[in-house]
Symmetry: D2
Subunit: 260 residues, 4 copies
Amino acid sequence: MTKKDKLVIGDVELSSRFFLGTGRYPNPFVQNEAIRESGTEVLTFAIRRVNLEAPDEDAILQHVEGKIFQYLPNTSGAKTAEEAVRIAQLAKASGLSSWIKVEISANEKTLLPDPVETLKATEQLAKEGFTVLPYTSDDPVLCKRLEEAGAAAVMPGAAPIGTGLGVLNPYNLSLIIEEANVPIIVDAGLGSAKDVTEVMELGADGVLMNTPVAKAKDPVRMAAAMKHAIEAGRLSYEAGRIQKKRYATASSGYETFISK
Amino acid sequence: MTKKDKLVIGDVELSSRFFLGTGRYPNPFVQNEAIRESGTEVLTFAIRRVNLEAPDEDAILQHVEGKIFQYLPNTSGAKTAEEAVRIAQLAKASGLSSWIKVEISANEKTLLPDPVETLKATEQLAKEGFTVLPYTSDDPVLCKRLEEAGAAAVMPGAAPIGTGLGVLNPYNLSLIIEEANVPIIVDAGLGSAKDVTEVMELGADGVLMNTPVAKAKDPVRMAAAMKHAIEAGRLSYEAGRIQKKRYATASSGYETFISK
Amino acid sequence: MTKKDKLVIGDVELSSRFFLGTGRYPNPFVQNEAIRESGTEVLTFAIRRVNLEAPDEDAILQHVEGKIFQYLPNTSGAKTAEEAVRIAQLAKASGLSSWIKVEISANEKTLLPDPVETLKATEQLAKEGFTVLPYTSDDPVLCKRLEEAGAAAVMPGAAPIGTGLGVLNPYNLSLIIEEANVPIIVDAGLGSAKDVTEVMELGADGVLMNTPVAKAKDPVRMAAAMKHAIEAGRLSYEAGRIQKKRYATASSGYETFISK
Amino acid sequence: MTKKDKLVIGDVELSSRFFLGTGRYPNPFVQNEAIRESGTEVLTFAIRRVNLEAPDEDAILQHVEGKIFQYLPNTSGAKTAEEAVRIAQLAKASGLSSWIKVEISANEKTLLPDPVETLKATEQLAKEGFTVLPYTSDDPVLCKRLEEAGAAAVMPGAAPIGTGLGVLNPYNLSLIIEEANVPIIVDAGLGSAKDVTEVMELGADGVLMNTPVAKAKDPVRMAAAMKHAIEAGRLSYEAGRIQKKRYATASSGYETFISK
């Protein structure tokens, strides 16, 4: 990334475009190594009341020393806007973060976000001064309405959480990016480095991942892979790819060379 | 790439998995900057008799100083095995390289390689002691036969040269990789960083590109993108991606955190 | 279709699963021939006040004689639930139909449906006794909520109207179908017979098309193609396709034959 | 199919574009019903010596009464051109058919055809006066060379035999069709009615299937599905599909209607 190519969300300027989830790693050591290798500056995790009441116990994130993270707590588990709002308020009250990832689902099988409740919660939390990043479907109209409701960034899913199915609908993502005035962070469903390069090449401002890193055979190496994939996709997006054509064009240069 | 993860072709050990063509850049300066940025160690170009007779003139490749490249001249323009063999012999006789990319096509529209002639030329050149890298279709049986004929590496195309269509048949590429005992370098048709990450993630040993870099709006930046894409794909291949699933799995960790 | 395989929407039983739009044909003769060839029993069109005030003029649909159609007027042009509801009420009041396709969009470029307004209009019109068929995005949660709001059938788009891009997200469509208790009619964005066979094979209950037929080079022949495509996909869905496998299985039977 | 739209191979004119394999059906009754339902006029099967020596035993094909088929015996099991040629000669000598599907593979896992041996056998059998239909990969150059070698039709595979993976590379198929002067019959790897509609829409002259019909849950119904799929794809190809576009076009006609 060149010096000017920063991602700005709310009043925070980020050098990394990689948002990383903290769940499902084999152990805290691997988790921390993966976090380090990823270069991430934003960590996301779900909030439980117990966390908020006993913040000192089992403080996994304390292990990543020498680095300050932007926390992005999420409201997963919430089935309504009301529940999500309450969780966000608790998180803020505890001093954790004023950033909140709105994540509301009533479907256990797909965990896909509820559009109406997500919009409602986003609107209210934005009014209350939160930096709101809603997780949403890839419905372009809905994404636009979330922006209008005050979202600081919008986070459409590539596929259902944890499926690793990759970008089910690159066309929709490209429409969303084309129309957006806030950053678009692709969240959920990514499976591999290819998927990540693809979304960044479409012009996404960043990606949020958890399972593809945490459940890879080698999470630390996969964190490095994803970091390169983000860089590759972003640079390619900036560099401007060639047009696709139906027929061939010879590429070989006829070079003069140093012969001995 | 870790220290052990080297690509070995013939008796040459390579640190980079990026083979770069030298044609179609806007000017020599951009060409050289792109070559430098790519980290490539193998340069490919077509051979003309004039090159071989007057090797000192217009020596573009001399501009890339302080770096020694493995040259991979190609036989593009050849329509038969006989022509390709003759070009290879001239290149070797001039002291340029004993590596040769066999590239034989009679179809001006697609420049797709002729399977029979390619096989014939590969067989003969391997017998003559060349390090032969044939450009071929993604026919898995043909790729195997090229290996049996003595190819040092096999180079199936992702799509016709210069089209940027990307990986038309990832399944065939994965079969080829699965069955191969020599390195598989994906050559031709790639368009973007995503395509490159994809083929590396399938287990390809490297990629050869020219047009997607040379004709990008910013070739130097695209060279960097492709370098990252190769790294991303290779690391992801090694790290072992998650399985795809139809239904969701919650990923969020319920972390305890440092609250202040 | 076997005798039992009927599509039931509201209290209407349909023998054809093809809903056809009446716009954009080169001329009324071709329109009528295409309608006839398609075998459709449901015709859809937008409502203008002028239609409702002067129902006798230019009565194109009168030309399709000897056949009784279910009319499915749509609310295209509406940007809010309120506008859509008003249009539906006018249509009903004029005696045209109590079926209504809710179609609400504020985006001129994509004409993609607004999820919130669509849900609101569906809810109200269902309460008023309409047979409501909302055009919606392929967001599975939204489709479920439309069903819960009283939709008689739900009509997710394959792609934006008139684009011919085909099924952008077959996975989402299959989730929607899997979860639905009302018929799913795929509407908008289909381009070719292949697209139609695909959605029917996924288990859709029907398709609504207009542009792919009306703007084909030969609309009448394309209407026949689409009819066969619906039949093909439906029969294949019922017949139960083979599983995909990575490796081959010989299929040849060793038959004894009549030799002379 | 209109009366003029016939498929001509060698000196035979066919009304159906469906070539059907006779293997793997649950029982002879289902096999015969499926054959009948499919409308096929060309049956394909492998040849064993025992068939040729004892043509009267177990004559399954005798059960399809009242219909005369063009037999297309295949050389499956052959690993070389020599073996394939010998099988073809035996089949002809026994009076079975002078049509032969050249099928040569040495790879048990993929059963993919050997390009070099296939070309050699095709050349020789064509010279001997056979009507030769070689099964081949989707390599466009190879397909052209098979035509030049005297193939009466060329049969590229969509995917390996029996996998049901569908059309792995529609681009290559479309190139093959575009360049061909003999009929292109897509053979092997198809899985569903959608796949069939797709290849016919690309302009293929016909399809050869076995497993997708024989191993469907309901083979007879699937035979009907495939028949419709061929019709759908062919009609759509002839009717001329709409162009794909990135943005929407309203399709609704504002019709005047008969109101009562």
